[in-house]
């Protein structure tokens, strides 16, 4: 299945051992270095984004517009003294960063980075990713306990409690989507989104954007996507769920006592983890590596619609916000309309079949564009939303997201049994949300409930 088929047991057994070792080493080498560079660039991007959202300029000294700041940061971290405080459990303190990084690094092996290819071919893909992510929790607990510091321990306990709790709604949503795809293999899941339409209609045709998992069961898969994304924010300890490293309460959470290279390993793991959860969302909901366009004309029409609408909005209002909104609306509408204007039976790979190098390159491009957009959204949210309190966080998880995830699982199950069930349930869901909107937003009858009191 994969060009790097050496990673399968069969080929590993038959290939010369040095070739097998070299193949494993090459894949690991590429991924580790990619994560290092990716995380470095991401730190710079996040700082720049934060700065511009707060009307500052951010890093500006190293390189043009501060664009080489991440290299300077990496060098500083590498040459910094590795301080180990007196009251630490030395062995566990040294080990913890590697376990956290190992957990988030191992998950990359199963990500379907391009058409029909992942670094290692797994038939239990998503189960493996969820399993190795467990090492992150253990590593964080290890770091927090071995630091011998109250802040670290508090941060670690909060983090582990949060990750374990949010695995419940995330798992339920993913189970629902697995009902649709019928495979745990992430490459197969991406392939299952090449064809089909919402509610399981027209299995043998390509509907571009509409074939993606997020539209497969109407409102319920859209709600599932939102639940997954909220849960993913909590799993990666990102704002608004960053209570494990809440600066104003806990100094820096579980990595308070770390410095130098060990500290940077926590950083690498955090950014690698962000990409992994975004990649899972991409694979399950956003069609993996599949392109959104039906053909060249569709791509051109989408670009034109976006530019024309955006240009009009810019001309009329002279405001970037309205222009960006109109641009997105134009592109989105054209993407949705495409499948009806240009019916197709197969995915559009710009000439070439799904095995051609051009298709592989496009698949890689689309996968990273989608996953990275979700990562950017995480950064955007970080500088937009305030932090949740512990009780609010658990309330959201157990009382709101988990029941909703159960509802999604039920609705998707019914929809998979018969398409009419999906349509009826989706219609009922839309009506219910409309009623809720009218009652709570347009005509609120009563004031919102007061916040719960917590004793400090």
């Amino acid at each position: 299945m994969t060009p790097l088929a050496f990673i399968s047991w069969e080929a590993l057994r038959n290939a010369p051992w040095f070739m097998a070792l070299a193949a494993i080493f090459a894949v690991c080498f590429i991924i580790v270095n990619f994560i290092a560079v990716y995380a470095g660039v991401n730190t710079l991007l996040e700082r720049k984004l934060a700065a511009h959202m707060q009307s500052r300029v951010g890093p500006y000294q190293v390189g043009p517009h501060g664009s080489l700041q991440w290299l300077a940061d990496a060098l500083k971290l590498m040459f910094k003294e590795d301080v180990i405080p007196r009251d630490t459990d030395k062995a566990l303190f040294r080990l913890a960063p590697y376990i956290v990084f190992g957990g988030s690094f191992a998950a990359w092996a199963a990500l379907p980075l391009t058409v029909g290819w992942s670094p290692a071919s797994f038939n239990i893909g998503i189960l493996y990713v969820l399993a190795v992510s467990a090492a992150v929790v253990i590593g964080i607990l290890m770091a927090g306990w071995s630091s011998g510091s109250k802040w670290s321990l508090f941060g670690a306990m909060r983090s582990a409690a949060q990750i374990v709790s949010y695995e419940v709604p995330i798992g339920l949503v993913l189970i629902g989507m697995l009902l649709v795809y019928g495979s745990l293999d992430m490459v197969e899941i991406a392939r299952a989104q090449e064809h089909g339409a919402p509610f399981g209609l027209a299995q043998d045709r390509t509907f571009g954007v509409l074939s993606w998992g997020v539209f497969r069961h109407g409102v319920f898969s859209i709600i599932g996507f939102l639940i997954y994304y909220i849960g993913a924010l909590a799993e990666t300890n990102r704002t608004p769920f960053d209570i494990p490293e809440a600066e104003s309460e806990l100094v820096a959470g579980y990595h308070t006592e770390y410095s130098g290279m060990r500290f940077s390993f926590f950083f690498l793991a955090e950014y690698a983890n962000m990409f992994v959860v975004a990649a899972i969302a991409t694979t399950f909901f956003l069609g993996g590596c599949n392109p959104p366009f039906m053909n060249h004309a569709h791509a051109g029409a989408t670009l034109t619609a976006a530019l024309v609408l955006g240009g009009f909005a810019w001309g009329a209002t002279r405001s970037w916000e309205w222009a960006a909104l109109a641009l997105s609306a134009g592109a989105g509408a054209m993407l949705m309309a495409g499948p009806f204007l240009w019916p197709a039976t197969d995915v559009f790979w710009g000439g070439g079949g799904p095995d051609s190098p051009a298709a592989k390159a496009q698949g890689l491009l689309w996968f990273f564009v989608k996953a990275f957009s979700l990562v950017l959204l995480m950064m955007w949210l970080r500088w937009t939303l305030p932090r949740y309190r512990v009780d609010q966080l658990m309330d959201l998880c157990w009382k709101k997201l988990t029941p909703l995830a159960f509802l999604c699982l039920f609705a998707i199950g019914v929809g998979e049994a018969h398409w009419a069930g999906a349509v009826a349930l989706s219609a009922a869901g839309v009506l219910f949300m409309l009623w809720l909107f009218i009652r709570e937003v347009l005509a609120p009858e009563h004031a919102p409930a007061p916040l719960p009191r917590v004793s400090p």
Binding site: P16, W17, L127, A131, L141
Partner: protein
Amino acid sequence: MSAGEILLNAFFYVFALVALGGALAVAISTNIVRSAFALLAVLFAAAAFYAFMRADFVFAAQILIYVGGILVLIIFAIMLTHRITDVKVSNDSSHGPAAFFACLCVLFSLVVVIATYKWNRGVAPTEVEVAGDTAAKRPPVRLHLGMLQGDGKTGAVRGGMILEGRGFLTVETRELPPGWTGARIQIARAQKAAKAGDPPPWVAHKWAEGASTVEARDLPLEAKPAGAHAASLELTGLPAGKYRWSVALVPEAAGASPSPAAGFGASGESAACDFTVEAGLSRPIGMALMGPYLLPFEVVSVLLLAALIGAAFLARKEVKP
């Protein structure tokens, strides 16, 4: 043993060392938190053993449940217990003889299980008959068709299923009368039915052998003791799916066409020699748990309910009268 197998064995021993070292650390460490973290190494190494045995689903479930669930719970319990690290009396080495005896019992039962379990258990062979030819004086022959998993030496066969497209199809006969030389094996693969509910159409499957692809394979029936004859065909790299294989006997006379076994053929009605190729264990385990073992599976979960009630009972607040 090829160099690749040596490499795999080296990995195996590394994981074995990790498992044993971790277990030793769990047992002899005087710091209970370190014991809990040493358990991490044991659980991961045990998961690796499942991967070595091609039990991929069990591998992931082991990590997901034991590391992600149970170990986190253990560490939470330890960290939330007041001054638990001050206790230094854990793991005292009294009761040596009793412990030795207990270990001996466990070892004995392990040895008994390993020695008596039928490791290389094939599926129950299916009997078919090849019609004879009275004109050419070839009497009919009874054939036993079977299947072996993996490398044909180790690993159990799970009823008519081979993993990762690697397995052996075997043909045996108690006696082979003169006039026959070998067996011709063909494989058909079920295609997707045009309409839901229709029986799947069977299409002859070509499989790779060396550099070429073949549609059928003539195998010499090799003589075994007591007049029996047997042939086996190794299959590798079959894509996952449903397959049906058919056998015909090849007559000695030049130019004579092979004689198919009764009830077989690419369009044959007999389902006895169907087999499935599974890409992994997830689907068979799911089918087993949601099918024949549904009731036992649900009954076992009552155990968890009992544990839950016990935990709630232990954690309740003491009400002083």
